[in-house]
């Protein structure tokens, strides 16, 4: 099967190498949480509140307990000592609701866990759930953040009647002066609607407590296994070194699996109580109602500029729909929007105020882009509106205001330092690919024929590679251990936790090039706290930029050791290690990694100050974030009869620094763009006034599908970052961030002849038809 090549000379980084993860995925042999079966395993099913706000008067579990096959039924009272769902983000004056793992006396969202039934199989468990009788005293709910902040609104938490979880102010420069001196000020309310992350695999947990060893094995579909271990062990008072968390195959996360959830704590707690392994698999319905949501902004923007288009300042009032309680990053996400509010522009003066509002909805948290899509949408819409106001071309106003190449590292008014950039390059490239001037002429012709043709630009910047530890709630470094086995084959243990991003391939490429071994001789392992010393996980486009750098430095350590063994074995102090061979520059004699590995483990003789074995571990702390950027250009046509939007062309030019594997980067861009178009045109979590989720199934929540996607013309510019030696910036979220403003700008441009200057997402056909038909939107 495995070919033993050990040494090779061809460079792997930069090649379109197919993902080594894929064979197990496409042959159905990958192991997901639900594939795990254990002797004596029980199944848990959770009773969830049908009401968005209610007091619990009584719970009768007697019928459920009496059902044959039911082992136990637990309610909130039983789990009182089991702790609460943790939040890692902190802000001054933050009001943190205590969210018990099962509701105790009140429920504050539809889907709030109320009781859990544990049975011999999942069918009985679910039947048991239906036998529990709960008497609720239903209250009015509030599901809209602006309504929640209005006087007299229902208090999501009775102790905080104003529904304000926190306020946050940030400013840079002198925004008052900027606005006083401005020739033009443009204002707009811009929303970024609540979205529901949907990975192919829902969440799931298997907890297996072994009392004799005091060990817990927790298998969970997560992006951050070490974080889950540290938090759940602490919450339940268990010994961390005996608490193992495994993220087996994880079928997508998109940010919704960074959190430590109630079910992870609950399942571990149940396994201890019952001394049995126990499994819970989230249903799709639960995923819609109980897993975190994304976005949920109502933004009030003001942008001040000179007549020539020079942006002087930006003001933002941001209402963040937080939901009813917090998960790991909830209150921190809108602060990322503020950090990125200047976009790629030199804007020296900013002022931002966030109000975090409680609503009777699931918590919002990181969802692909996490705060940056909202910020990019805001600034890119405002710049377009400013251009329209000044009768400037949207490309011209962007090119005029971009941070200039010689200004890097560029300190922003929000306190960041942009690493490197050539911001006009992707925009110019996108315009060249599109034939921008020609398109504008075509648009004039199309308008004469009564067609609604639009050309939309978005120049996006993002903040990635989270991140320096002081800027993150749980450390922003990453670790990697590399072992060259006695056979010369290489095992990598990384602290990141990929679940679709392809690092089993890209990391093997890095190893192949650094050690001069074949890609098939490298195994990349992750997602097991008992295997990997420690790690932060995969999110925020950090895995390659931070985790890959930890790998790179571990490899440098190993290369130094290899060289020492080479010098000893070749009996020379003039040895070069390259292409998998240590070569004596005088004698020309050489020895490969395989021979060196054998000697290092056999240890008949050792170099000075060198121990046996070939293992290196590196924990790497990044000195800064990275700041990828790019430009997307979208041509749309809106059907005047029906309001349907057709994307005629989609051009994405992304600059993510150096590219390790163009095939994987393409995949990330395509997937990201699909999600961004999804937000622009279709997706929306709709709640009614009672806090019931109207879009609670795929029957009503429109996920983008393959046949709804345009052809994506993808290209890149390459501006390496100096932040890490690989020169990589991250690309996991780029497409999502670039897509929604590009699409909306295009549609607004299409309808600008009707006097339209802004449209809120999603751009449903009916919304556009009403505008076109001259009706009230």
């Amino acid at each position: 099967m495995a070919t033993t090549t050990i040494t090779k000379t061809e460079k792997l980084v930069g090649k379109r190498i197919r993902r080594r993860e894929d064979p197990r995925l496409i042959t159905g042999t990958a192991t997901y949480v639900d594939d795990i079966k254990m002797p004596g395993m029980l199944y848990a099913s959770i009773l969830r509140s049908p009401h968005a706000a209610a007091k619990i008067r009584s719970i009768d579990i007697s019928k459920a307990k009496a059902l044959k096959g039911v082992h136990a039924v637990f309610i909130g009272e039983d789990t009182k000592d089991a702790g609460a769902v943790p939040c890692g983000a902190s802000l001054p004056g933050l009001r943190v609701p205590h969210h018990n793992i099962l509701a105790i006396d009140r429920v504050y969202l539809v889907g709030h866990p109320v009781a859990v039934v544990v049975a011999t199989d999942r069918y009985i468990a679910r039947d048991g759930v239906e036998l529990i009788e709960v008497e609720y005293e239903v209250e009015n709910a509030v599901a809209d953040p602006e309504k929640a902040l209005a006087p007299g609104a229902h208090a999501v938490h009775p102790q905080w009647p104003d529904n304000v979880a926190f306020t946050f102010h940030q400013e840079g420069g002198d925004v008052a002066k900027a606005f006083a001196e401005a020739d033009v000020i443009v204002k707009q309310r811009i929303t970024s609607q609540r979205l529901i992350p949907n990975s192919m695999e829902t969440r799931g947990v298997v907890a297996d407590w072994r009392a004799a060893d005091r060990t817990m094995n927790l298998y969970t579909s997560t992006q951050a296994p070490h974080l889950v271990r540290s938090l759940v062990a602490q919450i339940l008072g268990l010994e961390e070194n005996r608490f193992r968390v495994v993220a087996p195959e994880v079928g997508g996360g998109f940010g919704a699996k960074i959190q430590t959830y109630a079910e992870e704590i609950l399942l571990a707690w149940i396994s201890i109580k019952l001394q049995k392994p126990v499994k819970w698999i989230e249903s799709r319905r639960e995923n819609f109602t109980c897993t975190i949501h994304g976005r949920g902004h109502v933004d009030f923007y003001e942008i001040a500029a000179k007549r020539d288009g020079t942006i002087l300042g930006i003001k933002l009032k941001l209402i963040q729909d937080l939901g009813a309680y917090f998960t790991i990053l909830t209150p921190g996400i809108p602060t990322l929007s503020v950090l990125m509010m200047p976009g790629l522009y030199r804007t020296p003066n900013i002022s931002a105020d966030i109000v975090g509002a409680f609503t009777n909805c699931p918590p919002t948290d990181a969802y692909r882009g996490a705060g940056r899509p909202e910020a990019t949408h805001g600034i890119e819409r405002m710049v377009d509106m400013l251009a329209a106001e000044l009768k400037m071309d949207p490309a011209e106003i962007r090119l005029k205001n971009f941070v200039r190449n010689e200004e890097f590292p560029f300190p922003t008014a929000t306190g960041l330092v942009y690493d490197t950039g050539d911001y006009s390059a992707p925009l110019k490239k996108a315009m060249e690919m599109a034939g921008y001037d020609k398109l504008r002429k075509e648009q004039v012709e199309a308008r004469k024929q009564g067609k609604y043709m639009g050309i939309g630009l978005c120049a996006y910047g993002e903040i990635c590679a989270f991140g320096p530890s002081p800027a993150t709630p749980a450390g922003g470094w990453e670790s990697c251990t590399v072992k060259i086995e006695p056979s010369g084959q290489v095992t990598v243990l990384t602290g990141i936790s990929p679940h679709g991003q392809g690092e089993e391939t890209t990391f093997a490429q890095i190893v192949g090039d650094e050690l001069g071994v074949g890609i098939d001789d490298v195994l990349v392992l992750h997602g097991d706290t008992q295997l990997v010393p420690y790690g932060i996980g995969t999110f925020g486009s950090r895995s390659t930029a931070v985790g890959g750098t930890a790998l790179y430095y571990a490899l440098q350590d190993l290369k130094a050791t290899i060289k020492k063994f080479g010098e000893m074995l070749l009996e020379s102090d003039d040895v070069t290690f390259a292409g998998g061979q240590c070569t004596c520059n005088k004698s020309g004699k050489s020895i490969g990694v395989k021979g060196i590995a054998a000697a290092a483990y056999r240890a008949m003789k050792l170099p000075a100050n060198t121990g046996p074995g070939l293992v290196a571990t590196h924990f790497w702390e990044p000195p800064n974030f990275t700041f990828p950027f790019g430009a997307h250009l979208v041509v749309t046509e809106v059907n005047g009869e029906t309001g349907d939007v057709v994307i005629k062309r989609y051009i994405a030019v992304d600059d993510c620094g150096n590219i390790l594997n163009p095939l994987i980067v393409d995949g990330q861009v395509h997937g990201g763009v699909a999600q961004g178009i999804g937000q622009a045109l279709w997706e929306q979590a709709v709640y009614d006034d009672n806090g019931q989720l109207v879009t609670g199934e795929f029957m009503d929540y429109t996920m983008p599908r393959a046949h709804m996607m345009p052809w994506i013309e993808s290209a890149h510019t390459i501006t390496p970052t100096p932040v890490n030696p690989l020169g990589v910036k991250g690309v996991g979220e780029a497409g999502t961030i670039g897509a929604s403003p590009a699409v909306v700008n295009s549609v607004v441009d299409a309808l600008s002849t009707l006097g339209v200057r802004h449209l809120d997402m999603p751009l449903t056909p009916e919304k556009l038809w009403k505008l076109i038909a001259g009706r009230n939107a």
Partner: protein
């Protein structure tokens, strides 16, 4: 899927199935609607009779100048059948618009019509085709016109113990043109509005017009006022516009998250015009 416990039978003959249904069991065809409802426990039948293994229910045959399509014939089979495409292209075209590939591989014509989802595609075509639906019970068999079959939302002329045995559609000769146009509800794939048109011309005159509408209201129906307005005319663009505007007249249109009543009525008119123009253009 974690439904409530149920008994499951998979008989090989129709008689056996009808016997079980007479005892109160519920029939299962492709499962495209029933299974999701069982998943959510909105439906909890005690006994399911799977009709999928009854060979005598799956066929497409030409007989007496008509096409007979067995109840468990899948959408994919209808869509790809040379016989249906040649003799009743409207039905094949409509089938090709249903759901997605997976749904068309599993879903059946009998299941779709018996379920009578007000946004299903087939009912529009069956109305336009003036199809006949053969209903079979343990001791009875009767034939009902599509017009009489679709009663209300999820409600048909089926009596307890009866199943749809087959659907009979006419074979139109030369001079007939058809088309199905659909506004897709992007999440579910159902029709926000679906318009099936079947028109015949003799010389310059439309001699017959049939317009089946789905998605617009509580049930699929024929837009008879519009039909009458077109018959005897030439089918000019102006006439098409005028006729299309009549399709939703007097209809209490559905309103939901995906389309308000006003927008649905507007779409019905726009898509009726498109379907009429296409169907007229297809007349050989």
């Amino acid at each position: 899927m974690i439904p409530q416990q149920f008994e499951y039978s998979a008989p090989k003959t129709l008689d056996e199935a009808l016997g079980l249904l007479a005892e109160g069991a519920k029939p299962l065809a492709g499962g495209m609607s029933l299974i999701p409802m069982m998943k959510l426990r909105l439906a909890a039948p005690e006994h399911l009779v799977d009709l999928g293994r009854i060979k005598e229910l799956s066929y497409i045959r030409e007989q007496g100048g008509e096409l007979h399509i067995g109840a468990t014939t899948t959408h994919h089979e209808v869509e790809s059948s040379a016989l249906v495409r040649g003799k009743c292209p409207l039905l094949a075209e409509t089938a090709s618009h249903i759901g997605d590939v997976q749904v068309r591989n599993m879903g059946t014509i009998g299941g779709s019509v018996a379920h009578a989802d007000p946004a299903a595609d087939y009912p529009a075509a069956l109305q336009a085709l003036e199809a006949k639906i053969v209903l079979k019970g343990a001791k009875s068999e009767r034939t009902v016109s599509a017009g009489d079959f679709f009663v209300d939302t999820f409600t048909t002329a089926l009596e307890p113990g009866e199943i749809v045995r087959e659907v009979i559609v006419p074979i139109d000769g030369d001079g007939t043109g058809t088309n199905y146009q659909k506004v897709i509800q992007p999440a579910s794939g159902f029709a926000i509005v679906g318009i099936a048109v079947r028109v015949r011309k003799s010389g310059d005159k439309v001699t017959m017009a049939r317009i089946g509408v789905t998605g617009l209201s509580n049930r699929a129906f024929r837009a008879t006022e519009a039909e009458k307005a077109l018959e005897g005319r030439s089918g000019s663009p102006a006439e098409i516009q005028a006729v299309a505007a009549l399709v939703g007249q007097g209809i209490d249109a559905n309103s939901d998250l995906h389309a308000s009543a006003d927008y649905r009525l507007h779409l019905a008119s726009v898509y009726a015009a498109r379907a009429l123009a296409t169907a007229l253009g297809r007349i050989a």
